[in-house]
């Protein structure tokens, strides 16, 4: 009992002399680990050969069965972040990071058991559900802490952490491949062992983050920073209670803003390899397409830090205006790059699009902080992540369906994506309109006013 008390929020209050610049690496310890989810696909092909070894044998899993592992994990990420956001907020970041480490590494151990037993349901439960809880809790665990430590640069601070989620796949993909190589023999594919080792590594790494993290002492402000007495129109100095935020149009407008931005990006992210090859047949090979996907992941990660940091200067609403306006133009221009056969223009257009896709994720916590204050921003962010779950389903379905419809109606593969691009551009126009409609939250939702009314 006393051992667990070191996880309490009260035990994590920073002492004098603590540097706030230790908080971003603490957050990155968690986000770099849970970002592995984006690299889960490296296990897909080896897991279709666990029985047949050299090729899929009788009883081996199909790719369609394995695809559900990632989808379930992302769905549970959104659901658990929404359900447990308040618990994370009130319990403090160390308890949340510790729980996330247990769930995430525990998910790997259970999934390893599933591979050993060759039971897909055990993997769904382990990686998809238990690991999914680790994803959700881990994703939101450092958000409000970072915002409280960096009231002068909230976008940059959360951008750094969420950049880690994008960057986690860069570490996990080559590490997974290397580990599988070590454990694979002519009669055995080393997936289960790789899961066990990765679970152990991730647990240790995330625990370092939990050990480092601190919350600022009450009333702490960074040196030289003075909050403006006259609040800006779209940056509140008040707080909105987590479930009261759901009653505001602002929450739902930002929900749609995130959902539409993610739908547009995630839809083409999964198809980037095939799209580049089919739009430039004979010019972009399978190997080059894999390089293209890697390059887009770099833009996705870099955009998280760049755009979130820029939002501290430009303002959150203006940053989303850029995402939606520039995104619309670029999506509409992609078919033209295919028409003139310009691979460099295609790559540049997609690079910017994916930087804004990542930027949308990374800027949204600061947008919520501007609207609803810092008190429950982590919990409100958790609720907002349901937009991600929704987009994760609709985006790929939309792209796949439109492409299949076009090909079935005799349109050449090289041109089959054009309609998709125009549809994505329309989605971004709707997002732009939602962003226009965002105004300051009505004072009746502010906590202080509510409390005053209750005590009157």
């Amino acid at each position: 009992m006393s051992l667990l008390s070191i996880l309490d929020r009260d035990r994590t209050i920073a002492r004098p002399g603590f540097s706030r610049w230790l908080i971003p690496p603490a957050a990155l310890c968690v986000h770099l680990c849970i970002g592995q989810a984006y690299a889960f696909s490296v296990f897909n092909l080896p897991m279709t050969r666990l029985i047949g070894i050299t090729q899929s044998g009788s009883g081996d899993w199909e790719l369609t069965d394995l695809g559900w592992i990632f989808s379930l994990g992302i769905f549970v990420l959104g659901a658990s972040a929404a359900l447990l956001g308040r618990w994370v907020e009130e319990g403090g970041p160390r308890r949340a990071m510790f729980t996330a480490a247990l769930c995430w590494s525990g998910g790997f151990v259970i999934a390893a058991t599933g591979v050993y037993l060759h039971n897909i349901w055990v993997i769904y439960f382990g990686y998809g559900i238990v690991g999914g809880f680790g994803l959700g809790i881990g994703y939101i665990s450092p958000v409000s802490t970072l915002i409280k430590w960096f009231p002068d640069r909230p976008g940059m601070a959360t951008g750094m952490a969420i950049m880690g989620f994008g960057g986690g796949a860069f570490i996990a993909a080559p590490l997974s491949v290397w580990l599988m190589r070590q454990f694979t023999t002519p009669t055995h594919i080393g997936v289960a062992e790789t899961f066990l080792v990765m679970g152990a590594i991730y647990f240790c790494f995330m625990m370092v983050g939990a050990a480092i993290v601190r919350v600022p002492a009450p009333g702490w402000m960074p040196a030289g920073y003075a909050p403006t007495a006259q609040p800006k129109r779209l940056i509140t100095t008040q707080n909105v209670y987590v479930y009261d935020a759901l009653k505001t149009p602002q929450f739902w407008l930002i929900w749609w803003i995130l959902c539409l931005n993610v739908t547009a990006g995630i839809g083409v992210l999964g198809q980037a390899s095939a799209m580049s090859q089919e739009m430039f047949p004979g010019r972009v090979t399978a190997v080059a397409a894999s390089g293209f996907v890697g390059l887009m992941s770099l833009f996705n990660m870099g955009g998280r830090f760049f755009w979130a940091s820029m939002s501290d200067v430009l303002g959150r609403r203006n940053t989303y205006f850029i995402f939606f306006a520039l995104g619309t133009l670029l999506y509409a221009a992609v078919p033209y790059t295919g028409m003139i056969g310009s691979v460099p223009l295609f790559v540049i257009a997609y690079g910017i699009i994916f930087s804004m896709y990542g930027g949308g994720f990374a800027t949204v916590p600061a947008y919520l902080k501007d609207m609803f204050g810092t008190r429950y921003v982590g919990a409100i962010h958790g609720l907002l992540l349901t937009a991600w779950s929704m987009a994760g389903i609709f985006g790929p379905v939309l792209v796949n369906y439109i492409r299949a419809y076009n090909v079935a109606h005799g349109i050449a593969k090289a041109e089959a994506y054009n309609i998709t691009m125009y549809v994505m551009a329309v989605l971004l126009v709707i997002g732009f309109i939602c962003n226009v409609l965002v105004t300051a939250v009505n004072q009746k939702h502010h906590m202080k006013l509510r409390e005053a009314e209750a005590s009157a």
Binding site: A14, P16, G17, F18, S19, R20, W21, L22, P25, A26, L28, C29, L32, G164, G167, A169, F170, I171, A172, A173, P174, V208, I212, P216, A217, G219, W220, M221, P222, A223, G224, Y225, V284, V287, A288, A289, S290, G291, F292, G294, L295, S297, L298, V347
Partner: protein, 43 residues
């Protein structure tokens, strides 16, 4: 509590270098691997 007091501290430099190195080195390694792979696009 003032920010001056809380942000200053002996030994913070070492802690910061260790903490940032702990996350920065693996991330840099992963980025280098990805860039090397991405260069195939331009070969």
């Amino acid at each position: 509590m003032s920010g001056d007091v809380q942000e200053r501290g002996d030994g913070n430099g070492v802690k910061l270098a260790l903490a940032w190195g702990f996350v920065g080195i693996p991330l840099a390694w992963g980025v280098v691997q990805t860039v090397a792979n991405a260069l195939k696009l331009f070969q």
